[in-house]
């Protein structure tokens, strides 16, 4: 494996972590917006409690992805910045408003409640970002961004304004909501009423995700043949696993097995992302930009691998600590103060 391929793999891992962790935070925003029934406030409270300590750390995976991409694959980054200017700008607006409004609510809740304008912004922005990131992903996966020689040739609307992109954007959003609902099932195991609320939401999100996934496959028959080729070519084993894992996840949610459901739904996201990545190998942005042809010179890549190794040695124990303190099955009892 070349160092460019290694770095590309690490960046894809970062994208996976962002999807599985921050994706659920966006999904939390969805359930905040659609909180309903007699326990609407408890639902919102559960979302805020789950997100509070971790959302900023989860968000950094995206920063890591972006800086890593422009360091290791600067030409690809330049092309994506041009071709996806509009959807990325929309996603960015969502990121800013989502993060700021969450912090306003979390730390200034006397003045900024869930029903205040900022409270509503939190939910709406949580929808905007996954949708546009999903649409941008469809533009890449469908091979719509043409950049022969690293020069963008396909314009500013290519690939992300198609029916496939809209369905993929909705699929991404729905998967975020699905992730969030199953994680919230786990975190509310000891509150049966909330557990039931999030179970119903998880089932709804699961069915929606399944329909949207089928729909996007159907559309890619005619519209995005490259995506289908990726998934049924090299990506087939992972894609087949995803097709088997989907029903398993739904079963676990249905039978109210939150811990199995959490693993299965997160696994579904991992399988879909890696089926896509393996399927379009060795392209970063098909059909013109490959990993090897757009990689930075070797000096950059090896320095980057060193930084990632050192950084990772600090990062991984820190992340372990964060999740252990706030997400362990039996959280450390509150200290007497």
């Amino acid at each position: 494996m070349s160092s460019a391929e290694l770095v590309a793999g690490i960046l894809w891992l970062a994208l996976t972590a962002y999807a599985v962790l921050a994706g659920a935070d966006f999904g939390g925003g969805v359930w905040d917006l659609f909180a309903s029934g007699p326990r609407a406030n408890q639902q919102r409270g559960a979302v805020a409690e789950a997100m509070g300590p971790v959302w900023e750390a989860n968000h950094v995976w995206l920063i890591f992805m972006i800086t890593g991409l422009f360091t290791a694959f600067p030409v690809t980054f330049g092309v994506l910045g041009l071709a996806l200017y509009l959807p990325f700008t929309m996603a960015m607006v969502g990121i800013v408003l989502r993060g700021a409004s969450f912090a306003f609510r979390a730390h200034g809740s006397d003045a900024v409640g869930p029903l205040s304008p900022w409270g509503v912004v939190f939910g709406v922005a949580s929808i905007v970002t996954p949708f546009f990131l999903g649409a941008a992903a469809a533009a890449v996966a469908s091979g719509s961004i043409h950049a022969p020689g690293g020069q963008l040739a396909s314009g500013f609307l290519a690939g992300w304004t198609t029916p496939l992109a809209v369905v993929t954007g909705l699929f991404a959003l729905s998967m975020c909501a699905y992730l969030a609902a199953t994680y919230l099932m786990v975190e509310n195991e000891d509150r049966p009423a909330l557990l039931a609320d999030f179970r119903r939401r998880a089932i709804a999100a699961a069915l929606t995700s399944g329909v949207l996934a089928m729909l996007s496959l159907a559309i890619s028959f005619s519209e995005g043949p490259r995506l289908l080729q990726s998934l049924t070519g090299r990506g087939l084993p992972l894609f087949a696993l995803a097709l088997l894992n989907g029903p398993l996840a739904l079963w676990a949610v249905w039978r109210s097995r939150p811990r199995i459901a959490r693993v299965a739904v997160a696994g579904q996201v991992v399988l879909v992302l890696w089926a896509w990545a393996v399927g379009q190998w060795p392209y970063l942005v098909p059909p013109d930009l490959t990993i090897s042809a757009t990689a930075a010179p070797p000096g950059t890549l090896s320095a980057m691998l060193i930084v990632i190794t050192i950084g990772g040695l600090i990062l991984i124990p820190s992340l372990w600590l964060l999740f252990r303190v706030f997400k362990a099955r039996n959280p450390q009892p509150a200290v007497e103060r």
Binding site: M92, A103, A296, P297, A303, L322
Partner: protein, 447 residues
Amino acid sequence: MDNTTLARATMGTSLGFHIVFAVLGVGLPLLMSTAEGLALWRHDEAWMALARRWSRAFGILFAVGAVSGTVLSFELGLLWPRFMAFSGAIFGLPFSAEGFAFFIEAIFLGLYLYGWDRLSPVKHWLTSIPIALSGAASSVFVVMANAWMNTPAGFRLGPDGQLAQVDPVAAALNPSTATEDPHMLVSAYVVTGFLVAAVYAAGLLRGRNDIFHRRGLASGMAMAAIAIVLAGITGDSSARFIYGAQPAKFAALEGIYQTQRGAPLHIGGIPVDAQHRVLFAIEIPKALSFLAAFDPNAEVRGLDSFPAADRPNPVLVHLSFDGMVGLGLLLGLLAAAFWLIAIRRRSLPMRRALLLGLVAAGPASVAAMESGWFVTEFGRQPWIVYGIMRTSEAATTAPALGLTFAIFIAIYAGLAITTGRLLLMLAARNRGAAAGQGNLPEAGRIS
């Protein structure tokens, strides 16, 4: 407006907005950590209460800083795709390192903000240390990238004009790093110190003379006083470095048109290109040559010696430079006066005039820092990478830049207003809680 102008306006607004939150992300954790450490060491509840108050405000400020910083990392690619396609491989390394620093800061901030009741007091205090360290490290790494744009190093171009070889460590440790990095880092503490002091000076002026206000004021002024001295020293070495490394920027910031020996220092005044001189300035003969090279007859290269297309705008750069230096000197005098009186009287100065000055010093320190960035950025123009790539060659060709600029202005305005409102609300709640506790230490008197 053309795309280059719109891209610069958008990027500049984003940077100008983000930097205020970013410097608080560097400075406030140090104050929080110190206060909490003192509280544990001396079993002092008031220091602990102060740390908790700061941590609540910091929860909001850090989040706004984090999301506005994300905007910047996106905008590098969205607004300057050709710049990034060329530079990413060279100066990306410090950004990657900054990513890790940001990770550590976000992780331990989560532990800090939400861990008050889950961690033992000592462990909780320990989580503040990585926040303070990684905040400082973030500043150091990011400014390395900006320093590279001023003095690009660590790469070789092949005969086809493509990158042939890259030494990213040499790029990160480019010649500007040694002067620009320390100057920005200490400036972060200057701004944090004066902003914190301004908040408590305003409270003291309204008669809220309690232990929190006195300690808050003293903490802010301690940080500000140490940092402003260091800012002067590092700023001076920065200017002297620019004299050698970026002569066009140096000529613009000092308003020198003709190349000359024994160049005068212009204080204030307006550079007028048509007349090739600075009008209405106080001129100190030979002072510039002396300051730049410790030789009153040293040669200073003038703007006229550069092709018109390679000159920065001297009006912006000179006025920003004098604004930064002037405000910096005033802030230094204010800090010196504050501590001289405090040491002589063995109590904090409560003179109305001095407190009013400290309230003004908060925004003034922000203005000084922003002016400093104006100097760096306007002074580098027309280059995005000095001597290598022009800003106009780097900008995106995407449509609707005007619209996205307008959207971001609206978002930043909304965030600024809400952040301000919530901080005032938190302060009011703190006062309510303090009044509820009663038995506050005896109030002093404001003269």
